[in-house]
Amino acid sequence: MSTKTPTKPTSQFQNDSERMSLDLRHRTLVQTAMSKYEAVRRGTQGRFQDWQAARQAASETKWEALNHLDQYLEEFVRNTEARGTQVFWAATGEEACAYILDLCRRVEAKELIKSKTMTSEEIHLNHALEAAGYCVTESDLGEYIVQLREEPPYHLVFPAMHLTRGEISDTFTQKLGTPASDSPEELTMIARDVMRAKYLSANVGISGANFAVADTGMISITENEGNARLTTSVPRIHIALLGIEKVLPKLADLALFLPMLATAGTGQALTCYNSLIGGPKQPGEVDGPEEFHVILLDNGRTELLADPEQREALHCIRCGACLNVCPVFRNIGGHSYGSTYQGPIGSVITPHLQGLQEWKHLSAASTLCGACTETCPVGIDLHHHLLRNRRNAAKAQPDRLEQIAYQGFAFVMTRPKLYRQLTRIAPFLQRLHQLINGRRIDPLFGWTQSRNFPEVQPRTFKDYWASRQEMKP
């Protein structure tokens, strides 16, 4: 345990997770939502003839794509450029934002509309656009709600999962002046009406992508609401922002990935709209954007790629299933993580994307129960990656106190006689420890402030065993 003054993300994480885990209202809300998800998913997954084989194949396909990433990216770019797409390679988030701002200036953007993209959260795109004076609206219902509340998304897939309909109604009343309502349907229709006007007035639409298909040069977008279809079709300019790891080799791979993403993500057999976009309006077509820009974002991904041991963390298709099943997520909630990507996958990749030492605490906050690994549709070994992060962090910046403690432990454990002596006097030592137990001067304070040591038995197991043997006839 570190004795240094905690860095900012660490103390934020500790404070927020402590507060949230005591919040019963939050817990009930999340538990109800998650048990619904679990039931639906179980049914849908049960209809697969062989989920494990499908999972294995998905993992192999991603392995193939990531381990030949340069080839597949080039193939994707070649194919999509041939159809009039403009591709920009952004090494960092700033470069991606700068490109989008330049584009907005060139096309004299009036209003911008966005469909859900976690990658844009990662590079703080809305912030950059607003700072430059542009008005940008999130069109996905959940994203729109958290945008109005000036909060980051709570969950990769369900951004407003932490809010009740009452809170959402209040937000709408405050920000839009609409009458209060406790009907999810009415609340949804309020957002629908707002967006209808925006689709028509915006001249730039920004989206993410779930997959980039190399052999046809298309991006694939999965959504339920239809907002992404409108965002990518109505405005004159469409910009798609995606991480370089999104590439899949073949169009036919989607026959596997689309149902798996839906099943793991929401428990649906297939999400409502799965749209492949391969360029701006083509000759002979009646509509579609005049310009289609694809931004391929690195922003730390090649660092993770360079680590063969953890490379597979880039296989993630952002289904959010690992968050849904994680006991830590369910108790501390999405905002406590303080990172763009929450839950187990967030804890694995955030240290790589944003700095190991500042974010290593996320990897420590795990029971290592392995529920995430079990549920992941592309078979990422999530809980072992948490262990690897812990190891790498300790290697790069060893904790002196911890080192001394473990050296002492090793010293005792490799000397049986000394160990036996110590077990004899342990009850006495424990009585001494009682004097400082749970106080700040206790060197074990981090542990004892909320826990009690079990009482050390006066008789050791060795003695007990010996006496038992004697009693045997």
Partner: protein, 239 residues
Amino acid sequence: MSANEQISSGREQILGRIRRALQVPAPKRTPHEPAPAADRYAKSLPVIRPEARAWLPPVGEAWAEQMQLFTEQCADLRADFFLCADVAEMEERLAVLAKDCGWQQIATHPGAMTTGAAASLSLPILLIEDGYEIVALEHCDAALTECDALVAQTGSVLITSRSAGGRTLSALAPHHVVLARREQLVPDLTAAFALLTERYRANYPSLMSLVTGPSRTGDIERILVLGAHGPKRLTIFCV
């Protein structure tokens, strides 16, 4: 540095990093079936992934079974599906629907099925052709389109910007009505992607979309609401 140089330098920079990163190979993890990993991928190199059929939810062999599955999926998804004996029955049902919903104006695109069906309604028609007015489309009560295929496995309608009157028509109208033919039913997603490749390989449309039920959201307390941003209703007629 000119804009072009900058673009090519970003590309070279990132590709360079990727190539350096990949110099050390990553181990393959094969938790469930250790052996055939490498060549299973090679086998799937042709356009279709036939092996996926053994893992995904099962679909019957016969057309009648597949039609049965499609009908059930539509019911689950709350899409309205009507298998019609002939065009006359379809037009009759369409007229009833138009009356029940009180359509004032519909939008459609020129097509073998849509043109006749739209005309049979004797309602004002917005024809979606190059240069149409988006505001006019926004005022229509329903969109009448054709499609590329119906997918039994998932209850999806496969549309493209070529087959269904562009990219916006089927997404903006509050009610999307699809006209399909019996022979357009395909068993599963594998077949749907094979069909797209077959049909458009030389020149893909700018949009290809699998539409699975009417637009929906669960963003408020995970409660299902139909008609988030896309069509609130999806009606499929098959003749």
